[in-house]
């Protein structure tokens, strides 16, 4: 089996990363600051995020076979690269924890009605650890297999919301200051293409296949934006009360005697998306540690992930309020670095490499003549 993943599989990974922690808590959380204008905040943040994709492709073109760690080590020295990778590690660790916690709270409310942490840990950790050990190829192939199910589930949830009363969301109510400060505040929820940067050496993109990456990324963005629009159209001023957007948009119906059993659709969709996301982010964390400590074996690194995630969960998070505040506290700095600083560095590196190559080709052409 080849170690490379195809452009389609890379697109699926981008698709899942873009959905990450945006389909449950984020719509209601953003509503508190921006009301329905959160839709515009999302569009702007997606646009900024989307700019990471052409930079990635440019970098891939200039360094087709090289690992990101090697590229950065050569250009910005190894210690700085290690520092970068440590920041990436923190980013992926917390992103995983946030997804797990939000989904855990959702399942607690919807299914268990009581704490089931032991069951959750026992069921998540072996599956995620196994996937991380097996590598990105396995994860992407599994995700590819279940992709259609995920998309159908997501679209069904959106579709069912059309059967209830929808009102045009009231837009343009947020002051510019609040609007732009939200871009800083919610930036940690973005930076979804970073995983593709980490696995840049493992992606095989044939000529003309770049559009697959664009296609999957745009589809995920459209799905999330549709969710935001329908969710605000459905709940309006009470959006802040409904913390599980994708589930609430399907389950709750203002119609009398609404069918409640449909929630199984959203439940399965949410669980599949969350599982793949956690696997991808766990793998990405392990990749960061592997590059910083190259002598460690894969199972050992996965064990580090398991222990550190459990420690962080019990010490730092556990409470729902804390995770909500984490979104917009110091993690925003990490988000700013990953969303804006890191792509600019990558773009600079790619451009320097491009001009050097051009210069070299010119020299070679001149010599031959």
């Amino acid at each position: 089996m080849t170690k490379y993943i195809s452009a389609r599989q890379a697109g699926i990974i981008a698709f899942l990363c873009i959905l990450a922690n945006k389909f449950l808590l984020l719509p209601s959380y953003m509503f508190k600051d921006n009301k329905s204008d959160s839709i515009f905040v999302m569009i702007l943040l997606f646009a900024l995020d989307f700019a990471m994709l052409p930079i990635l492709l440019k970098l891939k073109k200039e360094f087709p076979e090289e690992k990101l760690f090697d590229i950065l080590s050569k250009k910005i020295t190894k210690p700085v690269t290690i520092l970068f990778y440590m920041i990436f590690g923190v980013y992926f660790l917390f992103k995983t924890l946030i997804i797990v916690d939000v989904v855990y709270v959702y399942l607690k409310q919807q299914v268990y009605q009581e704490d089931f942490l032991a069951i959750a840990i026992m069921s998540i950790i072996p599956v995620v650890s196994h996937a991380a050990v097996k590598g990105i190829k396995t994860i992407s192939r599994t995700a590819e297999f279940f992709l259609l199910l995920v998309i159908i589930g997501f679209v069904t949830c959106l579709g069912f919301s059309l059967f209830t009363t929808l009102n045009m969301p009231v837009l343009f109510t947020t002051p510019a200051k609040v609007f732009f400060s939200s871009i800083y505040k919610y930036t940690f929820s973005f930076g979804d293409f970073l995983v593709l940067y980490l696995i840049i050496d493992k992606i095989k993109i044939k000529k003309g296949e770049e559009k697959k990456l664009y296609k999957f990324s745009l589809s995920a963005m459209v799905l999330i934006l549709s969710l935001f629009v329908l969710y605000y159209a459905k709940y309006e001023v009470t959006s802040f009360m409904h913390n599980d957007a994708l589930s609430d948009i399907l389950v709750f119906s203002v119609r009398f005697n609404a069918i409640g059993r449909l929630d199984i659709i959203s439940m399965l969709t949410i669980m599949f998306i969350a599982l793949f996301e956690v696997e991808i982010f766990c793998f990405a964390f392990c990749d960061c540690v592997e590059n910083v400590f190259p002598l460690l074996s894969k199972p050992f690194i996965v064990a580090i992930f398991d222990i550190s995630s459990l420690l962080c969960y019990f010490i730092l998070i556990q409470k729902y309020e804390r995770i909500v505040s984490l979104f917009s506290s110091w993690l925003s700095y990490v988000g700013i670095f990953i969303n804006y600083v890191f792509p600019i560095i990558c773009l600079t590196i790619a451009l320097i490499a491009y001009f050097s190559r051009k210069k070299y080709e010119k020299l070679v052409d001149g010599g031959e003549k």
Binding site: P126, T165, M241, F252, V254
Partner: protein, 416 residues
């Protein structure tokens, strides 16, 4: 095949799977059924009785019986807070309270004298009361209403949710769920309309069910309630009456009880609100003085919002398609007098006056309570945003806006 099995056997995930099975399979097999731990509540009643709160839960407990009837009982608990009352009701039930299937939430009038959200918050945010539960108030206690609804069901087959559902579809027209209440409550104008069901002594019209209160012996809550929770009081006959009323809430408190006519007047601009009967008296036709009843079959409404000389003006053009359904006069019958269906100038004026008069009363009532359930604020915000924002900034905010609005109603009626 052997090779495949060997491969599976060597896989560490296989052993993890086996370990999980060993731990959880017996637990799953021997754990008791959900219904043994949880009582399924189909309706919730909250009463404020002096300083105490009483929660009454219409609970379905699955039991084996030979009929196909659902065995439901009312279980109640009292406490100094709603949470405490639910806790005590849970003890009385001997099960956890499961509110997922609660279709109706009833509160008594006394509870609505204070901001009701402070009591509902616990139920909806912590105890998982679904927001699509229909929110209804009653004049007596919610517990009595629930008891009577059960008797009504066994006597007439009419369920509480059906009565409320009928009202929601035909009278309130607007959504009266808990979610709709919250939407009104958290909006700038903080007002909403909820349903209202009466418990009256027998003798009133429109009685859906009647029963002697002494037969409420099923009430297990009365055993649990501390200071004499059971309120059995002799042999007085009381009935659950669908009086078609509703309650206007402002800031979560009861502001006004709206009767059917007032509710219809409030709903005049709602195109879904149809089938009302408009009665005009003393119309001269064919040399006779008649009383005529018209039914609204169709409605078209065009709303315009504008500012005139710096003041908000709301213009509504209502086109009603009506049908003459009853004629009261000397030997007149609508079936044989098709000419009576014609709407002459006098009838048109009378209908106009009737509709405008009712609407004017409704607007005065809404203005008095600062309760913009007609979403006039939204209309101006959408169509005249700049002027609207300046106006509310200078005149005490969105809450007071309705008081400043001049309403112009243009009604045209035509036979449908």
């Amino acid at each position: 095949m052997k090779g495949k099995l060997k491969k599976i056997y060597k896989n560490p995930m296989f052993f993890i799977f086996i370990i999980i099975l060993i731990f959880y399979a017996p637990l799953a097999i021997y754990s008791p059924g959900e219904s043994r731990n949880r009582g399924v509540v189909t309706a919730v009643g909250i009463d404020k009785l002096g300083d105490e709160y009483e929660i009454s839960l219409l609970t379905f407990i699955p039991t084996i019986n030979q009929s196909f009837e659902e065995q439901k009982s009312i279980i109640s608990g009292k406490g100094e807070s709603v949470a405490q009352a639910v806790y005590r009701a849970q003890i009385a039930m001997g099960r956890k309270v499961g509110l997922f299937h609660a279709k109706t939430t009833i509160v008594n009038e006394e509870l609505l004298q204070e901001d009701v959200t402070q009591h509902l918050d616990y139920l909806s945010r912590v105890a998982s009361l679904p927001e699509n539960t229909v929110f209804v108030a009653t004049n007596k206690t919610a517990k009595e209403l629930l008891s009577l609804s059960q008797i009504s069901k066994s006597n007439t087959g009419l369920k509480l949710e059906q009565i409320v559902g009928f009202n929601a579809e035909n009278l309130y027209v607007t959504d009266t769920s808990l979610e709709a209440f919250y939407e009104g409550y958290y909006s700038d104008v903080k007002s909403s309309i909820i349903g209202y069901l009466c418990v009256e002594e027998e003798g009133s019209s429109n009685v859906f069910a009647s029963v002697e209160k002494a037969s409420m012996s099923e009430d297990r809550g009365s055993d649990m309630s501390q200071e004499g929770g059971g309120q059995q009081s002799g042999k007085k006959k009381e009935s659950l009456i669908n009086c078609g009323k509703s309650i206007l809430l402002k800031d979560g408190k009861m502001a006004e009880i709206l009767d059917v006519d007032m509710l219809n007047a409030v709903n005049l601009l709602n195109t879904k609100s149809l089938n009302q009967i408009i009665r005009i008296k003393d119309v001269e036709k064919n040399g006779q003085i008649l009383n005529l009843d018209y039914k609204v079959l169709d409605k078209q409404v065009i709303k315009t919002s504008k500012f005139e000389n710096g003041y908000p003006v709301f213009v509504a053009k209502v086109n009603l398609g009506i049908n003459l359904v009853e004629v009261e006069g000397a030997k007149e019958d609508v079936k044989f007098n098709t000419e009576l269906s014609d709407i002459n100038k006098e009838i048109e004026n009378k209908l106009n006056n009737q509709i405008k008069g009712n609407f004017s009363k409704a607007i005065d009532m809404l203005k008095k309570n600062n309760a913009d359930v007609l979403e006039i604020n939204r209309e101006f915000f959408t169509n005249n945003r700049g002027e609207y924002l300046n106006f509310i900034h200078a005149n005490g905010g969105a809450e007071n806006f309705l008081r400043h609005v001049t309403f112009k109603l243009i009604v045209s009626v035509e036979p449908d």
